[in-house]
Every structure is written in C-alpha cells, then in structure tokens.
C-alpha cells in the first residue's frame, strides 16, 4: 500500500489541510471542483435548498441552501454499473476539513491504480446530513422529505457500500465507528468486521460507542464493560436518528458506516496515513465484492467490536415481555365472559332466546369515545405544534422552536386531563365491564404496536416494552390509585425519553444535573420533530400517533368512574 509513502504526496496533503483549516463560511465549491478535476475525477456539483419546519436551534439553521460537490472515479473498462461512496459531511464550520484533505489525497492515490472494478464516488456534502439527504434523494430520483435540489448530472450505477468519514484533527488517537442509522437500521455485520480487520492489521485503536474494547472477558470487568457498550447501542438505536451521514444511506440498501477520528489525551497518536491505509484497505476489499454484502447478520447488538448478540438470542426477551400483555388480555377476556354469565343468572330470564344483555352493546359503545378522543389527542400532538408555531409566537414571547416544544408538552399534559371526563357511567349493573373492555382493547393495541416496533427496531421496542408493560398490566381503577398513577406517569413515553437521556449520559460517564437534563430533554424533543420532517425519522409519529394514544387509554382505565 503505497499511500502517501512519497514525500511529494505527503506535502500536498499537508498543503490541503492547511488550506482547509483557514476559516470558512461556506464550502469552497470552486476550489474543490478544481482540485478534484486536477486529480483526474469527473466532477459535478448539486445545489439544494430546504426550509426547515421551524428553526433548528442546536445547529442554528432555518433556511438552508448549500452545494454538494462530488467527483466520480470511473473504473477502467467497466460499464459504471456499480459504485462505492466515500463521503465527508461538512458542517457550517470547518470542523471536518481534515477529512476533506484525506478524501482528496485518497482520490489522487486511487486514481493512479488500475485495479478498480467499481466506480468510486468522492462526495463532500454541505450542511452535513441535510446535504447527504439531498444528494441521496437526487441520486435515486425520489423526493421523500420535500427537499429542493438540482438534478444530478453524473451517476455511477447502483451504490454497493459507503463509508462516511469525520475527522476533527490531523492526528487521531482512536477511530470510533458508528453503525446505527435512520430508524435503527444497521449495516451488514460484515462491513463492521471488515473495518475491524483493518484496524487490527494497521494497529489502530478502535472504539465502539466511545468505549475501548474490553480485553479480559474472564473477569467481571470485561462483560460489565460489554454491557455498558450494549446499553449505549440500545439507546442510540432506539433514538432512531442517523448517527452520522451513513445512516441515510441505509434506506437505499447501501451498507454504510461512519468512522470518526477521536483526538483525546492519549500518548500514542496516529497520523492520517494510518487512517488512509485502513480506508484504502476497506475500499479494495469492497471493490472485490461480487455481490452486495448479504452473508452476515443485518440484525444484531454489539457489546464489543468482535462480539455480537444475534437476533435469535435477543428476540425471546421481547417476546416474553409481550407475552405478559397477551396473558393479561386473556385473563380480562375470561373475566368479562364470566361477568356476562354471572349477569344472566340472577336476571333469571330462562331460555336461550334471550337477546344479548344490553350491557355488552353499551360496553362496546362506551369504548368508542375514549378511543376516538385519545387518537385525536395523538393527532393533535403530531400536527399542532408545527402548524401552530406562528400563532404561538404571536401571542407568547417565545421563539418558534421553543413554541413547538412547549406546545408539544402542553398538548401532552392536556391529554392527561382530558379523556377521563368524557365517558359517562352507563352501566349500573356491571360497573367493572366498561374499564375491563377498555383495558382489553388497550392491551391488545399495545401488544400489537410493540410487536411491530420490536421487529423493525428492536432496541426501541424493547425499551418501550420494559417501561410500558408493567404499568400497563397493573393499571386498574381500584387499589392504590395514586401509586398506579405515579407509575403510569413515570413510564409514559415522554418520561422514558427523559430517563433514557439521563441513563445515556450516565453510561457515557458524563452525568447530567437536573436542569441540564431538562434542557437536553427540550432539545431532544425539538430534534425529534425536526428529524421526522427532514430525514423521515419515524420515532415522532410513532410516539405521537401510536403509543401516546395507547398510553392515554391506560390512563383512562386508571381513572374510570
């Protein structure tokens, strides 16, 4: 591997890095184009613009417009049917300029080789993930999120794999790998194995979730550290957000991962040559692929880079949790049936010709109102915050982003107050039948939802199941109501989110204070809504249209009169 072995190339790289380190306000499109063309690539640009539904305060952007630059290295004598992508997302500041430098150096090196069988696309995107989303949508000629972008001039067939690179300094102490993509999708495990192989080969220090790999699995420390990494992965995957620009590639069935160069206070540091060698090795291996990566697992959890938990092992856990709901529903069904029989007997109406007792019909009718109202609350939660942000800013002294978050919380809280006033006591004969029927419906609804979620995004399904199932199974209008109410509130989706944030920072060994936690919670809410609108993340609609109404039904059961 002759990358950067000659001093001329190394000096060129140093020059590039120096040039890119100068303060930038926008992507130096013309310069990038010129440089890529001088390296010998086919260069194209794509401009895009997007108006976010409300201002993004964490990234400080609202009306976004930018330009992506990409260069295609055509494989000799091939027909451009397949390609690989190396992408570098650039934010508004020049934090990722070292990665651009490495990308250009790699492009120059790759261009001189004759062994390429697949085209290689070198992509530099502006406004990090927004640019990537715009480019991917234009490449596949679809419009999922309402992005306005110019059509692409050059394409290179079906993308087989992609690697995203983020470097914040020109020396790194370790490489962190991120696999979790949009909606909890994961790349094929073989891609990760490939990365790990080259890390070991090059002697690079690799981390997963920012954690070092445990060496000793026999003592208690190793498995404990593995568990921490595993929990971090579960939390990250459950969030459903793309952790790095690779996450957006997964929707198009492009296996992808993000490599992040970390520069911490370690003694031994690697320069970019080591990172470049690992990347070159990965690309050569991917270049040899005859088929798409499909042999290994698509569904897994990682306690360490070299170990994984397969779906066959973790799925029963979620299955048993959901079984609780199923059994509880069965019990309620039996009780309802018994109550029906019990009603008939004292009535003393003999003969089979007696029509169905009226209480059953009324019982079902009484379910309609709470179901409809809770669903309406969910719909309001989904639609109103973004729709009503301008009204809110007119009447209250808040900014748009704050307005959205506060409206969200207000509607969420209002949901708790609303539904239990809506139903009337309809059956004097069987006061229990109403809530039992409602709980039965709610249990089945919850079990179905959690089952579906666990199949697509296991971590989210499992996290919600562990929190919601016990409270849902216990909820009833008798007994220690305040205790149940407290339990229900603590396990509501919003509280789960808050709790996850605290757990997340605790596991990262950066614990939060309460005030910080609250701020982070508000920011996470805004991010969740934004990610749904900008990338099509499904967590927000799932919670607002599915789980929140379902949870309200249990709240309704608890306060059944």
């Amino acid at each position: 591997m002759g990358l950067l072995s000659d001093p001329v190339r190394r000096r060129a790289l140093a020059r590039l890095v120096l040039r890119l380190n100068a303060p930038l306000w926008a992507l130096p499109v013309a310069w990038l184009e010129r440089t890529m063309r001088s390296v010998g690539l086919e260069v194209y640009t794509q401009s895009f613009s997007r108006k976010l539904p409300f201002p993004d305060e964490t990234h400080e952007r609202y009306m976004v417009s930018g330009t992506n630059v990409y260069g295609i290295l055509r494989a000799p004598r091939a027909a451009s049917t397949e390609s690989l992508v190396l992408t570098v997302p650039c934010g508004s500041d020049s934090t990722n300029s070292q990665a651009v430098g490495l990308l250009l150096a790699l492009a120059a090196h790759f261009r001189g080789q004759i062994y390429w069988a697949k085209d290689i696309i070198f992509l530099v995107t502006e406004h990090d993930l927004l640019g990537t989303e715009a480019w991917l949508e234009a490449y596949h000629d679809v419009n999922v999120t309402g992005m306005q972008s110019s059509p692409l001039q050059g394409r290179a067939g079906a993308i087989q794999a992609a690697v995203a690179l983020e470097l914040s300094s020109d020396v790194v102490t370790s490489l962190d790998v991120a696999v979790e993509g949009l909606n909890g999708q994961l790349p094929n495990l073989d891609l990760l194995n490939l990365f790990q192989t080259f890390c070991q080969k090059g002697g690079l220090l690799c981390t997963l979730q920012g954690k070092l790999q445990p060496q000793d699995w026999t003592s208690l420390d190793g498995p404990l550290q593995g568990l921490q990494t595993l929990l971090l992965m579960v939390l990250r995957q459950a969030s459903g957000r793309p952790h790095g620009s690779h996450g957006l590639f997964l929707r198009y069935r492009v296996e992808a991962l993000t490599l992040r160069g970390i520069n911490s206070f370690r003694q031994y540091k690697y320069d970019l040559v080591a990172v470049g060698k690992a990347l070159e090795g990965m690309f050569r291996k991917l270049n040899h692929l005859l088929e798409r990566l499909h042999q290994s697992f698509f569904l897994y959890l990682l306690p360490a880079l070299s170990r994984f938990v397969s779906i066959g092992l973790y799925m029963p856990a979620a299955g048993f949790l959901l079984l609780v709901l199923g059994l509880k529903a069965l019990e309620l069904w039996m009780q309802l049936h018994e109550a029906e029989v019990g009603l008939e007997e004292p009535g003393g109406a003999p003969g089979p010709s007696v029509p169905l007792p009226p209480s059953q019909g009324v019982g079902l009718a009484s379910l309609v109102a709470p179901l409809l109202i809770s669903q309406a609350m969910g719909l309001a939660l989904y639609v109103l915050p973004v729709l009503g942000q301008h009204v809110a800013t007119q009447y209250f002294p808040v900014a748009e982003a704050e307005a959205v978050v506060l409206t969200l919380l207000a509607i969420y809280a209002a949901g708790l107050a609303l539904p239990h006033n809506t139903h009337r006591v309809v059956s004097t004969q069987a006061p229990d039948r109403g809530w039992m029927a409602l709980k039965l419906v709610a249990l089945i609804y919850l079990a179905l939802q959690l089952g579906c979620i666990a199949l697509t995004n296991f971590s989210l399904g499992f996290l919600l199941a562990t929190t919601m199932v016990p409270a849902a199974a216990l909820a009833k209008p008798h007994g220690p109501r305040t205790l149940y109410a407290a339990l229900l509130v603590l396990t509501s989706p919003a509280a789960t989110l808050l709790g996850s944030l605290f757990l997340w920072r605790e596991l990262q060994e950066a614990p939060l204070s309460l005030a910080e936690g609250w701020q982070l919670f508000l920011a996470a809410l805004a991010q969740g809504v934004l990610e749904h609108h900008t990338y099509g993340a499904l967590l927000f609609p799932l919670l607002s249209l599915g789980l929140y109404p379902c949870w309200l039904l249990f709240w309704n059961v608890l306060f059944w009169k």
Partner: protein
C-alpha cells in the same frame, strides 16, 4: 462518453439455403488503419480498423426478410484476453506484421476504455447489386489514460502505448496507414508536436467538426527504411489545461430510481446540447420480462412539457420467453434535456431461475439511441471506397447531419431474493420431510382397510384339509 460501450451483437441472419461454400473464396486484399487522437485531457484514443472483402456465391433473394432480423444483447460481458486472441486470429497477418503487431494484450488491457467489434455484412459489388461481397470489418478502440499508464506525463509514443513499434507492413495489405489527429498542430497556437513530421495530411469533417490528420503510410518504403522502425511520438508543447472536455451534441444517461424491492422506475435522460437545432432520436429499449413494465406510466418530458413521440412500437414481454421491446421516435428540442421514464415492478422468480449470485443483481441491457445529429461544419459527400475507413464510423448522410448510434450504460437491478443460506436449506429440507410424512400419514388415516376373508377354496382343498386333519397336520 464515459459509459463503456457493451459488446453488442447485431446478427444479421441472411444466409441463403446454399450455406457456406467449402472452397476458399478469392479475397480482396486487407485494408488496415490506426487512428490516434490525442484528447485535451491528456489521454490518447487509438482506433484500429481492419477490413477484408471476399466474393461470395450467395445470392440475395429479394429484400431483407425482417423475420430473420435478430437483436440480442449480453449486458454483462467483460472483454478480456480471451476475446482478443480469437479476434486477432481472424486477421490475415495475425499479429506477425503490419499494424496488428501493436495488439499486445497486456497493454491493451491497461487502458481506461476498450471496445472491440466484429462486423459482417453483405456489400454490393456494383450499382445494380447483381453480385455480392462479404465484408468483414474488425475494429478495436482503446483510450490510454494519462493518469494510469503515463504516470501523469502526457507525452506519448507508439512504444509507450503499445510497447512495440511498427517495423513492416502486412504483405497481404493493400493499404496500411496510421492517422494522427493534429487539428491543434496546424493552428497558430501550437500545442502539439508530432515526430517524425508527417509527409501528407488529410482533412475531413468528423463528428461535425473539421479535423486534420497526419498520414503515415507503411507501404511507403521510405517511411520505415529511414530508421528501420516507425515510432510515432506526440509531444505537448503546452500541456493542456484541466478543463472539462467539450460536451457532444447528443449524449444520454440511464439509471434506476426509487428504493425498496417492490417497484422502481427506469429513467433515461437524453441531452441535446445543440444551441439551435432540434433533431429526432430513435430510442430502442429491451427490458427483461422480470421487470414488469407499466406502460401507462411512460412519460416523456422535455423542458417541463410533455413530449409526444411520433412513433411508438411496443411488444409486451412474455414470462420466460421474450423481453419487452420498446421503440420510440422522439424529437429532442434544441438545448434541452428529455427525460423518458417508465415504472416497473420487480417480479418474483422461481427458485431455480436465480443466478448463482442473485445478490449481485440482474442486468438490464442498455438502451440504443440512433440519431442524425446536425453538424456545425458542412461536409461534402465523399466516396466511401476511397476515403479512410474511420470515415464510415460516423457516416454523413447529406452533408449537414452525421449518424450516431449511442449505447447507454447497462443497469443493475436488485430483485427480491430469498435468503439462499443455511436456514433456507434447512427450511427446504424440513418442508420436504414434512411433506413426505404428511403424505404417508394422510394416506394411512384416510384409507379404509378391509380384511379380505380367505375364500374357502375348492373341493380339492377341502379334501386335502380333511386328510391333513386325519394325519394331525395343520390345515392349509
């Protein structure tokens, strides 16, 4: 453009009943030529053409019968030395003498573009077409990449390109020439120098632009005798800038859009970059049957407006028998991009129909564009027999147009693929076992069994039993 031309096979089945005759027919002598075109990017394109003609005893029976016209494409074929060796054997001098000395596999496959073709066609020998010759034409085009083979340097020589030089003409050849494009050389700003200096030049209109070629005739004895070999060298006096290459008037791009394994869309972009002339394009598409086209979704838009094709021929696919055939004549407005798109659904194949590498995807053959592209410079009609062979690559029809046939890139489409892995095999095996067991159990459970009483037998048996009983032996 950069899309490599696939090995398209156009087979004209025009053989009569008589078939091939066994005796070697008299040959016309060989014409061979090599055209070297330095590109502004620093790359060098080299095109070999060899043409042989011989008389045949086959007579044409009236017009071409279109029922015998076949079109087939193999989109996946990758050209390698296995294709080159038999191709070289068709040449009369093989690779012993003449231009074919330069055809050295390890250099030809170090290029960034490689296209190799064999054309066989009947040619009329006279104006009334009473007798026919068969023409065999072999072409080979390669583009040498300045980045890969030249290590960044842009000067070229025959030796550097092919690691051989020309020493002698093929004795069987009636014409053996090397043409070097020196269009820039003769202008005021000299950028290119050719060595040895050419004795004659040739001027013509190729692809709508005026070109000047330096001619090196191998049959000219002085040419080789001067230095015992001919090593043509190109030198850039002023290295060309890294600017985007000039865009041709007609180019195209094809891709699959959409994601997921259920539906998709085939899109073809046709670019007409001519500033003021519109021209029609004949688009021929063959799509395999396992992409089920929705023809009602066929949309053609240019400049934001719908573009109605003046002619459409569509032949629907039959499962496992024939692909979709779609042929359209589309008018491309001046300076526009026309998008032709059609949606499709991915079919489920039978499990034996998958290729050994189903996760690689399935190839869709390139579309073929045929067009008369208006040229900027008017060309005068030429005598085909006298002009160089490369002139007929882009034949000029009436002086203002030239004919171009373009192939777009082939596509790779993923179909819904079962998991052909160990669990899949286990499921198959289990299903077989269950089916066998179920079958036999069902048989056992539903069949009614009757115990057939043994017939009492005839008189002889009864008698025998009586005797046996008397003797104390158990009866029959």
């Amino acid at each position: 453009m950069a899309a490599a031309m696939p090995l398209a096979l156009l087979v004209l089945l025009l053989l009569g009943r008589k078939g091939w005759c066994l005796a070697e027919p008299p040959r016309d002598s060989l014409r061979e030529e090599l055209v070297i075109t330095p590109l502004p990017s620093g790359d060098v394109a080299a095109t070999f053409q060899f043409r042989t003609r011989w008389d045949s005893e086959l007579q044409r029976e009236g017009d071409t019968d279109h029922y015998f016209l076949r079109y087939a494409v193999l989109p996946r074929e990758v050209v390698c030395t296995e294709n080159l060796t038999p191709w070289k054997k068709l040449l009369p001098c093989s690779s012993k003498a003449g231009l074919s000395v330069l055809l050295k596999a390890d250099r030809l496959f170090h290029t960034s573009y490689h296209s190799q073709a064999v054309h066989i066609r009947p040619v009329c020998r006279n104006a009334r077409c009473t007798s026919i010759s068969w023409e065999l034409r072999q072409t080979l085009s390669v583009v040498f990449d300045a980045f890969i083979t030249g290590q960044g340097k842009k000067d070229w020589s025959l030796f550097r390109m092919f690691s051989r030089t020309l020493t002698e003409p093929c004795p069987l050849a009636s014409e053996s020439r090397v043409y070097v494009d020196i269009t820039n050389y003769n202008q005021d700003n000299e950028t290119l120098e050719v060595n040895p200096p050419p004795t004659t030049t040739y001027q013509d209109v190729i692809l709508g632009t005026r070109k000047i070629y330096a001619i090196y005739d191998l049959l000219d004895t002085a040419m080789i005798n001067n230095s015992r070999n001919l090593n043509i060298q190109l030198k850039w006096k002023r290295p060309p800038e890294n600017e985007a290459p000039p865009v041709p008037f007609l180019h195209a791009q094809r891709y699959v859009s959409g994601y997921g394994l259920q539906k998709g869309e085939l899109s073809t972009l046709l670019y007409n970059t001519h500033p003021y002339r519109a021209f029609p394009v004949l688009l021929l598409d063959t799509v395999p049957w396992y992409l089920r086209l929705y023809v009602h979704t066929l949309t053609i838009t240019s400049k934001g407006k719908e573009n109605k094709p003046s002619y459409i021929h569509y032949q629907p696919a039959q499962d496992r028998l024939q692909p979709h055939l779609l042929e359209m004549l589309i008018q491309l407005p001046a300076n526009s991009v026309t998008k032709v798109s059609i949606q499709f659904e991915r079919a489920l194949l039978k499990w034996t129909e998958y290729t050994p590498d189903p996760n690689h995807g399935f190839y869709v053959s390139p579309s073929v564009l045929s067009a008369l592209v208006p040229s900027v410079v008017a060309a005068k009609p030429v005598d085909w027999e006298e002009s160089p062979l490369f002139n007929s690559l882009f034949p000029v029809s009436d002086g203002s147009n030239y004919f171009v046939r373009l192939y777009t890139e082939p596509l790779l489409v993923n179909l819904p693929t079962p998991d052909f892995s160990m669990p899949y095999n286990v499921i198959c095996l289990t299903c077989t076992v269950v089916a066998v067991c179920y079958g036999s159990f069902y048989n056992l459970l539903t069949r009614t069994f009757h115990i057939e009483e043994p017939r009492t037998g005839g008189l002889a048996k009864r008698l025998a039993n009586l005797i046996r009983r008397a003797r104390g032996v158990p009866p029959l």
